[in-house]
Symmetry: C2
Subunit: 443 residues, 2 copies
């Protein structure tokens, strides 16, 4: 190394506060989750889109809100005022409004991508994170069946992700709105906030707080009876229908809930994975019908890991066209972090997608490379150790990768035309023809 290089200033390698990156072992596990979500979305006919991360600020901030304006990464370059997207919904709205003439409706799109929020750093919250969204957008109208399909997609995703039992909970904003109206609630946000504490502070304390908001005792009782309705989805619908409420919005909402419940049965979603939860509201000024939350039964502390709902109009900031839709989002980075922290994610035992490492001895490179090609052609990810060094170093490399099988190839293997494959876990070693090796490694 020259003197100049020795005296070169070294910049401490680090990333921005609040950002994360994964080491290979975690990244491989993360990508597996991402692939399952993508494959499941595609299996239902959702179409990929991939909009720019940077958009015009006027587009992203069309529906401005205090938090968004504070958190958004916004800057000027030349004369242009631009910003990094903070979710995938606003870009979807802009995309559909811009390209409506070229899309097939209902437009079923998925989008898996990074979004950016300059939040105060805190555990499990990141400033760059993946969202995995699906939405079904109608042109003018959209059948309620789609609300049921969304539940089926969530069900398929979490069955395949295999983190144990989960419950997909739905509610309907029309039911909530109609009910609240008929019992005289004016500040819905405040009432929802109080109601939400019932599991923590109990019925009586909630009642006390509700009365302080100015509601009559009768109405408080009605609210409490309403939000504690329990039972299977079908039973809840029946109880709601039996309430004598003279409110059209409420009635429409109950009918929608009933239909969604009926269709969900047709999708073969297990009854134990699905419930109506009348305490769910989600974004109060955005959703207008069905709303969704999903919890892992054994880890309620994670909160909802997949949420969304039905909205009347996706893109009213960008077009006069009526575009009703329904969709959900999985906050994958956060979910991954939470699952790891809670010990639910079986730690990936490998930091590579390779199934086998071939290690050539002197003079066997050609045979080794040929064997590697044959394995790859059969769909087996195959790595060849190409560097010189002692055997111990090569096996240390295999161990560090966590690769399951290693085959050292000497003259002897060539003479017998086999691969001698060692199972790194059991230590067992056996000879395999290429086709036998493919069989072994496919599983």
């Amino acid at each position: 190394m020259s003197d100049t290089e020795n005296s070169k200033k070294i910049i401490e390698p680090s990333i921005l506060s609040g950002f994360i990156e994964l080491l290979p072992r975690e990244q491989v596990a993360f990508n597996k989750m991402k692939d399952i979500i993508r494959d499941t979305y595609e299996s239902y006919g959702f179409i990929p889109i991939d909009t720019p991360v940077l958009e015009k600020s006027e587009i992203l901030l069309a529906k401005s809100g205090g938090e968004t304006e504070k958190q958004i990464y916004r800057f000027q370059k030349g004369d242009t005022d631009m910003a990094m997207r903070f979710d995938l919904t606003v870009p979807l709205a802009r995309f559909v409004a811009q390209h409506a003439g070229e899309l097939a409706f209902p437009f079923k799109r998925y989008h898996i991508g990074k979004v950016y929020r300059g939040e105060r750093p805190q555990k499990g919250r990141f400033r760059e994170f993946y969202q995995c969204d699906i939405d079904i957008i109608g042109n003018g109208s959209l059948s309620i069946n789609n609300d049921a399909e969304i539940v089926s997609v969530i069900n398929s995703v979490f069955k395949k992700l295999d983190f144990g039992a989960f419950t997909i909970m739905i509610n309907n904003r029309k039911v909530l709105n109609g009910f609240f109206e008929s019992v005289g609630v004016t500040d819905k946000t405040e009432v929802m906030r109080i109601i939400d504490k019932i599991d923590k502070i109990g019925r009586e304390n909630v009642a006390e707080e509700l009365i302080k908001t100015g509601l009559s005792e009768t109405n408080v009782e009605k609210i409490l009876d309403f939000i504690t309705i329990e039972g299977s989805a079908v039973e809840v619908v029946e109880k709601l229908k039996s309430l004598t409420m003279d409110n059209e919005e409420f009635k429409t909402g109950v009918t929608e809930l009933e239909e969604v419940t009926k269709y969900i049965k047709a999708y073969n979603v297990e009854e134990s994975s699905f419930a109506i939860n009348l305490k769910i509201a989600r974004g109060l000024d955005y959703y207008t019908g069905t709303v969704y939350e999903t919890v892992l039964n054994d880890y309620p502390q994670l909160g909802s890991i997949c949420s969304g709902g039905r909205y009347d109009n996706l893109a009213s900031n960008y077009t006069k066209q009526s575009l009703p839709g329904v969709g959900i989002s999985i906050g994958l980075s956060r979910l991954f972090y939470q699952l790891s922290a809670a010990g639910i994610l079986k730690e990936a035992d490998t930091s590579t997608t390779s199934k086998i490492l071939l290690v050539p001895m002197d003079g066997t490179l050609e045979y080794t490379l040929k064997s590697a090609s044959l394995l790859r052609e059969a769909g087996i990810n195959t790595e060849v150790y190409l560097n010189s060094g002692k055997m111990g170093k090569k096996f240390a490399y295999a161990d560090k990768l966590g690769i399951k099988f290693v085959s050292v190839i000497g003259e002897d293997e060539i003479a017998r035309n086999v691969l001698s494959i060692k199972d790194m876990k059991s230590g067992e070693q056996k000879d395999y023809s290429i086709s036998e090796a493919v069989e072994l490694l496919k599983n």
Copy 2:
């Protein structure tokens, strides 16, 4: 629609100048290419990483250059000076320097992600574009075999992408440096620039320009003889060896070229897909050994579609550790645009990954959804048309998606327990059991 909504200000939906986004039909084709590249990278044992798009400016600009500083998207948020990455190499260098203790070396990583350059907008150049990179990083040393493996990866990628015949061209910077030194070239950049024009302006004009740089006639002749060496890789190596050059760097370079050529043969790369091209230099102050360019034989005007090389030290700005490496990059967004513009990309005939659209008639939703589940479980992406409307509208939707098969499900199909599947291209319609349908749709 209320009055307020009617009078609501509509913001024209559009994206930033110099950015692109694809419509579904193009996006599906783009994703197929991206998947092929990813799968091929993984098949050779490359490991995924996914670093933040935003990094500290001091990290990204450690090795600052005029163009980079001008083009980079850099801004302040709070006290933090941050910027969007302009390539995947600088983040790789930072990543390896930061996590060296936790990585297995040689570290074979791939990274497919978006990068950002505020270039002057021009045809086929985008301010946000995908790069698909692989690099193999050694800890202290890295065998020359790896330089050959890179050629094998490029070969596999472009065979699978199937854009017709291609040539992977390599050269060696030591050969160039040693040769230039021994013929008295001081301004290598200028000489390379002149040499590069030989196919356009001819040998004599190049000679004239070279003499103007102050080189002797004898040396200009030597240069011209050198850069016009032709033949198979083996022949070029032999001709280089026959040159009587008393220069150690040159000799080392020729030996490296010879070894790489030998190993490439072992990888079974067709001779027609591979050549030594002594005019290739690539980034003059970065690469130190093998350099790569790749061209489509029938579309030379596209220039190099996959380039890279060997470097002595990946991360000298962030660590004193010696990290030699070799790698290449495919500029996927640009390549996709060029292939489309040149008409090479067979236009994707579908804008969905769904294989079939099931259309329930009145009263058959349950059977339809059950059939869809069975198809999905067999790995067939299956869409169900869930909205009401006339049959014409439903088939128009199928046409717009470009979906290949449609099955309308009535009472009759339920009675016979079949799917009646229509081939949308041939118009042919036949009955299939679920397992027969799986067979049909798998191909």
